[in-house]
Amino acid sequence: MTSINPILKIENLTLGTKTNHNLVSNVNLTVEPGESIGLVGESGSGKTLTLRSILGLLPPGIKQLSGNIKNNGNCAMIFQNPLGALDPLCPVVSQLAEVVYYRQKVTHKASRTIALELLESLGLPDSLKQTDRYPSQLSGGQCQRIVIAMALACKPSILLCDEPTTALDVTVQQQIIDIIKSLQRELGFAIVFVTHNLAIASSMCSRLCVMKEGKIIEQGETLELLQNPQNPYTQMLIHSVLPLPDIERSVDLCP
């Protein structure tokens, strides 16, 4: 794991409020270009805070107490609730075009063309080209695609995903995961994927970090970690993934 040129390096990061110093303590994380890392753990274990501190998006009252974050790349973030991450009163294509305009420094007209290309590559319906829609007129999955498109418009070298599938239907979750995976193959950005869904994390990421109470308690290659967990909490986490019922019997139930 020692690389000459990591794209993101977090050293001894400690976050806390004035009264409670233990929200996140001593987190070390290194991200190589093109790598995907999963941060897993229960709610309140500090995954999201760690992720947000990379962008400097800490909620008011929480401060970075020590450590440093070396960021050599261009970060973009995908949020948990796609509807919440879009301005409800701004049509989606305009919103996307605006990001393109400011990040890629092109003309207004060109930004719209690029925006529409992005939408097409993400599989959004063509009717958006004729009439722009408000976020409330789109489904959750469609909104998440817009949010992904907005993140891509920044040409990121690291994509920070803050539970991007938690608020979505299971079938849509799969689509979004597929989109992120194939975009990564194509564009080669690194991913930091925060989730409490171990199944998704293990299918997405080559390396996993397990967080509990603000500390990374175990990290390693995905397969190794899943097959041979050292920490009792990691073992518990792996066992808490519900197995599918016996396939042979359920074949009769759903033809």
């Binding site: 962008l55 998006l57 970060c75 973009a76 973030m77 949020f79 609730n81 919440g84 991450a85 879009l86 301005d87 409800p88 009163l89 701004c90 605006e98 990001v99 400011y102 990040r103 097409e120 590559s121 993400l122 599989g123 959004l124 319906p125 009717s127 958006l128 009439t131 829609r133 007129q137 789109l138 489904s139 999955g141 469609q142 949010v147 907005m150 993140a151 418009a153 920044c154 849509v172 689509q175 597929d178 989109i179 194939s182 194509e186």
Partner: protein
């Protein structure tokens, strides 16, 4: 690369149609608008409807009660009260709207700045709003009116000075709550500049509330205009104005009650119309 797309088809834009249906389904807004449009219509068409010149005196027909010739009577100089009433609507409504333009813009802008940036920007703006609020409003109005001399400019200047406070306070709170929402954070991480977020994204979101405040504030402003007219430091006498009409009729209240009562009713009517519109709009935006 084209990924599979099996989401539901997009819903259509039906904004204009639903907007009219919403108005129809909100009686307060509907009646408020009917009342206001009627008033504005009468004010605009005053020269056409008015049976007499509002300042033409007829000393042979003073203090007449309502009759067929003079619909709601005449005043102490024999001027037709109805003509004066509708011309006064013109003066008062124009001042009301014009005096509200600058305070509305500055108030909303300062409120958004305070709410969005917080910290010292917020501290400074809050300092100003709190100081002005601790000051009695009419005291400021009267001081400025005396300083600038009777007439409309006193009202305009006072309102430019203090009118923005109401908007700034409401919009500040609202912007601060929007500030915590994810899409503002998202827009910031995506690299949109602050002015763009404020004008393109924050403004449309706070505007509904600002308009509701505007409606209530306009009622207050109208009352202020009329009060100044009543105190004799508002609109100068030859121009018809509800406030001066009320104070002129005061001396004859026992013999010719309609002189003061009817302009008073006109003020109440305008106030009700604006309040109903404000309420109705608040209802619509709350339901959404």
């Amino acid at each position: 690369m084209k990924l599979t797309q099996n989401d539901s088809p997009l819903r259509d834009n039906k904004r204009i149609k639903t907007f009219f249906r919403k108005i129809w389904n909100t009686p307060a807004l509907l009646w408020g608008m009917i009342m206001l449009f009627l008033l504005i219509g009468i004010a605009i068409l005053a020269p056409v409807i008015s049976p007499y010149d509002p300042s033409k005196q007829d000393l042979f027909a003073i203090l007449q009660p309502p009759s067929v010739k003079h619909w709601i009577g005449t005043d102490q100089l024999g001027r037709d009260l109805f003509a004066r009433l509708i011309y006064a609507a013109r003066t008062d409504l124009t001042i009301m709207v014009l005096a509200e333009v600058i305070p509305f813009c500055t108030g909303v802008l300062l409120g958004m700045l305070a709410g969005y940036y917080g910290k010292w920007v917020d501290t400074i703006i809050t300092l100003f709003t709190d100081t002005f609020i601790a000051f009695p409003f009419y005291l400021i109005v009267i001081i400025v009116a005396f300083a600038t001399g009777a007439g409309q400019q006193g009202i305009y200047i006072t309102f430019i000075l203090v009118g923005w406070i109401v908007f700034a306070r409401v919009i500040k709170g609202l912007s601060a709550s929007f500030r915590k929402q994810e899409w503002i954070a998202a827009a910031q991480t995506l690299g949109l500049p602050g002015y763009k977020i404020i004008l393109r994204h924050l403004l449309p979101n706070v505007l509904p509330q600002a308009i509701i405040v505007l409606m209530t504030d306009m009622v207050g402003l109208l009352v202020a205009i009329v009060t100044l007219g009543y105190l004799g430091i508002g609109i100068a006498p030859p121009t018809p104005d509800w406030g001066t009409m009320i104070s002129d009729g005061q001396s004859f209240i026992t013999t010719a009650w309609w002189l003061s009562t009817i302009p008073g009713c006109a003020v109440v009517y305008t106030g009700i119309a604006l309040s109903l519109i404000g309420d109705g709009l608040a209802d619509i935006w709350r339901r959404k």
